[in-house]
Structures are given as structure tokens and as C-alpha cells.
Amino acid sequence: MSRVRAQLAWMVVLAALVAAWQAYVRLRGVPQYVLPAPTDVGRTLWDERGPLASAGGVTAREMLAGFALALGFGVAAAIALHASATVRRAVYPLLVASQSVPVVAIAPILVIYLGFGLAPKLVIVALVCFFPVTVAALDGFRSVDPEHVRVMRTLRASRTAIFRRVELPWALPSMFTGMRVAASYAAVAALFAEYAGSGSGLGDAMREGTAQYDAPLVGAAVVVLAGLALALFGAVTLIERLTIPWSRRVE
């Protein structure tokens, strides 16, 4: 019982924050276009549920597809970097350096190249999510206890067998950590991409809301976006618990 109560502590904190926000806006008479009250945001969420849902759907697709791309390419890149010291020396420093280029800066260029459709959004989300996935997977591969590899070699294991039966499962917990980081970046990346040029999605709704001083609409879009980010993060965590239950039992 007390454990359940401790697990729900965040709800109390959240409720207190929302209540304080509501009281501040109402008691000070803050105009809605400066800071909307939580009730205003809530009302807009309800009234605009149709458009918000379809905008959220667009953004969710961009996040998911970009994240999936990043996962595929990230793990493949990590395997290549792990398998060959030459590739690692030649590519890894460049990969790290490439992270100093802000995605905000290249988003407009990608829109020019790839148009206003889905393609530039996927690329931008994938670019942002790629790095944490790759680094975490590579770290996972490289942290394998060499003693395990030595013993496996005496147990008739080929290079591929060692990878499949030792290195890959060994790296999974680390990969999931990278995926959780990537999942939390995906929402912001999708938003950037939509800001850079788009006719749909939550980013577009927020731009429109800002232009019309419709602060409750902006607030409602933020709530939906936060929900999407949390959902992706939660999904990754859930999949982790289901696929590698052993990782919490070791050490």
C-alpha cells in the first residue's frame, strides 16, 4: 500500500504545480494570450481534439519512422565499427565531430533538398536519434568481458557464433539505454523538422497558434507532443523489460 502511494507521488507534485499555475493566472488576471490557464489549455484540448489528433498522428508517424531508421542504421553502424578497427579509426572521429553540427541549422537545407513531404522529417529525426543509438551499441559491444570470448573460442564458436551468442545479447542493455535517449530526442527533432517547413503536424499547429496569439492552442499542442514523447519512451522501456528480463537480475 505504502509502495503504491510512493509510486504515485509524482501525481501529487504534478497536481500541485497545475493548481499553482491555475491560481496564479486567475488571481493575477493574466491575459490568456500571455499565459493560458491549465483549464484553457484543457478546454482547447477537448474542443480541438479532431485537428490535434490528426496533427499528433502526423508527428507520431515521423517520430516512429525516424526512430526506426535510426535504430536500423545505428546498430548496423555499431556492428561495422565494432567488427573492423580500420573502420573505427577512419569513421568514428568524424561521427563524433558531426555531432557538433546543430540539426536546427541543417533542417532548412534538408527541406530545400527533400521538399515539404515526409522525407526531410524522417531524415532529421533519424539524424538526431542515430548518434545515441550507435554510441550505446558500440559501447555495449566493446564492454564484453574478453574472458567470455576466450572460453567461447574453446567451445567451438566461430566469429559469428561469438557475436550472436555473446556480444549481441551482452550489448542489448546498453542498446536499450541508447534507445531511451533517442526516444526522448525524437519528439523535439520531429518538431524542428516541422518548424522548418511543413503543412501538417504538431509543429505546424504550434506555428499557427503562435501567429494568431492562440496560446491555449500552443499549450494543447505541447501537451500532445509531451504525451507522444512519453509514450515512445515508455514503449522502449516496456520492450526492454519483456525482451531482456535477465538484465535486472545480473549483479
Partner: protein, 251 residues
């Protein structure tokens, strides 16, 4: 030269240096086929290095090694299975899955490997533990599974590196008897490395005593005290005499 003899392991003048450190110096030793040979020595006398050289995982700086007449590292690796002090079980596999990993490495699929491993697994007193997760097993059970895995590699030569070093005294005594029985049922050319003189005398047919760094063989004696009643054996005059000689050589 003696290395023409069929079976067994021959070491001739084996020296291993790591930079300035001389780990092994001029070690010559003959391990006959189908017997258990113990190597006793203080920590850091290069016992583990010796096993890695025999297994073909390391090359000696000088001298020759042959396992059943084969002297290239690849051919030695084909003939040897190594069991390390820490069991190195894979937590993402259950007990039988760990024991049968070498059969899977050899090809033929998971299901067939498990079916093939099951009879030996049971013969080693592990029946009922097939589906246990590694973290549910006691230290002694883990070592039994690790030994089953080593046997199931189907190699002629078993290299056991302090297999019971991490166990408490009671479990250790139990496993020493268990190992003696297991090797009677499944005879292999076995090298048991330990720092415990009593263990070597009880489990092995012959014991080689090594000096501290640089490691070299300073005494070889006949053992074969296993199989009888433990308490009576370790109090018997021949056992005490052998123990005295080994301890003196270690000093």
C-alpha cells in the same frame, strides 16, 4: 622426441614473457592421455597462462607445445576446452542452454543441441535444473553447469583453471568428489590448475608443483588419493607424506 607419442600433452622448454615480466620459464611437462594431471602453484605463477598456451589462445615466447601431436595454435584450440574459475554462464540462457552452447556453436540448431545435451546433463546430477535461470543457481550448481558445458564441447582435452576457487569449503569438498566421479564416467585428458594442494592430491592422478614467478615445474609426484573415504584418506600417512613434499616444494 616425446611429442610423437599419441594422445596427451607435451610441453618442452616453454617460456612466456610479457614485456619484461617472465611468466613462465623453461616449463617441460608431459600430461598423459585420459588421466587427470594437477598443476599446483602460488598465485601469479603463470598457471592460467600455461593453460591458455596449451589451448592455443596464447603462443609461447620459446619452446614447443603439442596436444595429441598437434602443435599449431589452431589445431590445439580444436582439441581443448577451457573452464575458467568464474563460471561465465550466460544469463540470457537457462542452465541446459548454457551447457549445450558448444553443440549449438558446432551447428545443428538449438533444439537438437538441447536434446543432445540432456542425457549427459542428467548423468552429471543436474536433472530437474534444465530450465533454471543462471541467477537461480547456487555457486556449486553453476560450476557443475560450467563443467557440463566444457564436457559437451566434445574435446579430448579439458583444461580446468581453478574451477572451485570461488566456492566455500564445504561445497568445494562436495564438488571435488563429484568431479572425480564425473571424470570416471567421462574420462578425458584433464589438466586441473589449483592453488590447493589437498584438492590436487584428491582429484588428480599426478601433480606437478610450480614455483612462484617466474613459474617453473619444481616437483612432480604421483597422487591418486581420490575415490576413498575423504576423512580417512587425508589422515593417511601416504597422503600426509605427499602433502608434505608438495608444500615443501612450494616454499
Amino acid at each position: 622426441m616425446a611429442s610423437a607419442a599419441p594422445g596427451g600433452i607435451d610441453l618442452e622448454g616453454v617460456t612466456k614473457r610479457f614485456g619484461d615480466l617472465v611468466a613462465l620459464e623453461d616449463v617441460s611437462l608431459r600430461v598423459p592421455a585420459d588421466g587427470v594431471t594437477g598443476i599446483v602453484g602460488p598465485s601469479g605463477c603463470g598457471k592460467s597462462t600455461l593453460l591458455e598456451i596449451v589451448a592455443g589462445l596464447e603462443q609461447p615466447t620459446a619452446g614447443t607445445v603439442s596436444v595429441e601431436g598437434a602443435s599449431t595454435p589452431g589445431a590445439r584450440l580444436e582439441r581443448c576446452a577451457l573452464m575458467p574459475q568464474s563460471d561465465l554462464l550466460l544469463p540470457w540462457r537457462d542452465a541446459l542452454g548454457n551447457a549445450s552452447v558448444a553443440l549449438e556453436n558446432a551447428g545443428g540448431g538449438r533444439r537438437r543441441a538441447r536434446a543432445e545435451a540432456a542425457p549427459l546433463f542428467a548423468r552429471l546430477g543436474l536433472d530437474g535444473f534444465e530450465r533454471r535461470r543462471t541467477w537461480e543457481l547456487s555457486g556449486g550448481m553453476r560450476q557443475r553447469v560450467a563443467f557440463a558445458r566444457t564436457l559437451l564441447a566434445g574435446k579430448d582435452v579439458l583444461l580446468l583453471d581453478e574451477p572451485f576457487g570461488a566456492l566455500d569449503a564445504i561445497t568445494r569438498a562436495e564438488l571435488q568428489e563429484w568431479l572425480t566421479d564425473a571424470l570416471r564416467v567421462e574420462p578425458r585428458t584433464t589438466v586441473l590448475v589449483t592453488h590447493d594442494v589437498e584438492e590436487a592430491l584428491l582429484v588428480c592422478d599426478r601433480v606437478a608443483v610450480m614455483s612462484a614467478r617466474p613459474g617453473r615445474v619444481v616437483l612432480e609426484l604421483d597422487a591418486g588419493f581420490g575415490g576413498g573415504e575423504r576423512a580417512a584418506t587425508i589422515a593417511s600417512p601416504p597422503f600426509l607424506e605427499a602433502r608434505r613434499r608438495a608444500l615443501e616444494a612450494l616454499r
